[in-house]
Chain length 205, copies 2
Amino acid sequence: MKRKGMLLIISGPSGAGKGTVCKALLAKHNELVLSISMTTRAPRENEIDGVHYFFETKDKFMKLIGEGEFLEYAVVHGRDFYGTPKRFVTEQLEAGNDVVLEIDVEGAMQVKNSFKNGIFVFIMPPTFNELKNRLIGRGTESEEAIERRLKTAAFELQNVNKYDYVVINDVVENAVDCVETILKAECYTVGRNKEVIDEFIGGVL
Amino acid sequence: MKRKGMLLIISGPSGAGKGTVCKALLAKHNELVLSISMTTRAPRENEIDGVHYFFETKDKFMKLIGEGEFLEYAVVHGRDFYGTPKRFVTEQLEAGNDVVLEIDVEGAMQVKNSFKNGIFVFIMPPTFNELKNRLIGRGTESEEAIERRLKTAAFELQNVNKYDYVVINDVVENAVDCVETILKAECYTVGRNKEVIDEFIGGVL
């Protein structure tokens, strides 16, 4: 019997390295499907609809919001919508594929409300100083922007208790190992084996 | 920082092979500590107090019950007390050792009420017929006794939903692998990392 897929939410403050962990995880496991976001912003050069994003008009996006078709969505920079379409994820899960969703803390908290059986993993930097260094090391942002990100990170960290797991991203390979272990163990949870159990009990009664 | 130990409850109907799985797990991991039961029955030849059992008088056992010193206990064959002393387990956990408790379903359900952070694993035979064959294969019991065990098993299976994980014991080595994975993953649960998280957040605020 094929089990249903699992939704793995990889989340955490920016600078924790959730993107790097996700990328390494997907590179190692091509059976995992990455959730594709929908956006109303224009495609950049080389961006393909249905691969990098689902590109949609604002009217269509808002209509989908009204129909409850997002696991989460947000307006970014007061200009564009970004969201996680529910249908893509549920179709993959029904087909038995595990889906990975990389998302910020605010989005993850929305998903927690709209989807019941997710595996919520909080990627944590080894120390707050390390987080600082990583953000500075990017060299792409002003001191002010970094300061803002750190404040956000401090705030986001307060939400870690709403997650299922916390993985400290010291070395990326180790963090990926942790996530693999979590995924494997989740296959054995009672909640994910209701059908096997019912079938077994059905054979007894 | 050393984390606290975890209590792993390996349980399931008789004939599912929980004993075999436990034995193989402990043989592979000598860092794991087996919980030692207390009993009022007399030691058999070669049984050592504090190794195979803690042997106690009925008066002492009942006094300990009154003091809430058992994670679970039962009267067996209307004659002898058997129980899991709380102190031994909690001392090991405080010292950072993971403790394995092999126990029947009724006992596990008692532990669930008396201890909050256990990892409850239900060892399940691959099929009910296989369970039957295993009990018959032992060749130690009457047809009537086997029938009684099967009825008990059918009843015990109704409790699987109160466990955290279900592991199908088809091949012992695979079942041990599953339990290892579960133990590893549990190390990353948010609930077991409160101190690490608090320390991190403390460094931020």
